[in-house]
């Protein structure tokens, strides 16, 4: 069975500082990898995804993530955060097509708090 671990439940950081949100997954089959962002009382918005190819993927709002197969990780990074990045971030995996459609398996989330 697949599982997703987000090691940090909360990450406080000062504005303009770099940030890394960690995500590890376990799966016996190939998966797609995603990062979603959730602002307070809102739904989930896709930040970026890894399907295949280049292991460094760039997303919206200046975020990027690197897929590391040997470490089964997909950490999210941003070189300089803004107050507006304060939100909860979810890492997720899904099977490739032919499996269970787009059923996303989420980690428990990391709350990013950007302070002035």
């Amino acid at each position: 069975a697949q599982s997703v671990t987000q090691l940090d439940s909360q990450v406080p950081v000062f504005e303009e500082a770099p940030v890394e949100l960690r995500c590890n997954y376990s799966s016996s089959v190939s998966v797609y990898l995603f990062w979603y962002v959730q602002y307070p009382n809102q739904g989930l918005q896709l930040l970026l995804k890894y399907l295949s190819g280049s292991t460094l993927v760039k997303g919206i709002n200046g975020f990027e993530a690197e897929f590391n197969k040997s470490q089964t990780s997909f950490h999210l990074r941003k070189p300089s955060v803004h107050i507006s990045d304060t939100a909860e971030y979810f890492c997720a995996v899904s099977y490739h097509y032919g499996g269970s459609q787009g059923n996303l398996i989420f980690g428990k989330g990391t709350k990013l708090s950007v302070k002035p």
């Binding site: 995603f34 809102q42 899904s94 097509y97 499996g99 459609q101 787009g102 989420f106 989330g109």
Partner: protein, 115 residues
């Protein structure tokens, strides 16, 4: 502009009183999903529809049902809500999942309170 719309945004229901949450989409996507997100927990898939085909997750309680009368609408029915069912319920849609289509579009969610 909204593509996946959930109503209501906030719902208060009494313990044991049936409640229905609504989701509509303007994307004409084949697949619609319902996720449950309890406080400080990961969103968890309850079930999904591929067109009219219903797919229940193995650990979804019988208390949770769903209806999809047409492509645009999907409903989540909770027959007898318990205090443990208080959560944010997220509806999402997607095209059939292939490498060319791997994005799920989420609504803003309905926060359910059980009193």
């Amino acid at each position: 502009d909204a593509m996946v719309i959930q109503n209501p945004r906030y719902q208060v229901t009494q313990f044991g009183k049936p409640v229905t949450l609504s989701c509509s989409q303007t994307l004409n996507h084949n697949v619609m999903y319902w996720y449950q997100q309890k406080s400080s927990q990961a969103p968890k898939l309850l079930f999904h529809y591929y067109d009219k085909d219903f797919n229940n997750e193995a650990d979804t309680p019988d208390n949770f049902q769903s209806r999809r009368p047409n492509t645009s609408f999907c409903f989540l029915d909770i027959r007898s809500p318990g205090l443990g069912d208080a959560a944010m319920y997220l509806c999402a849609t997607s095209r059939p999942w292939t490498e060319l289509n791997t994005e799920a579009f989420f609504g803003q969610g309905t926060r359910l309170t059980v009193v």
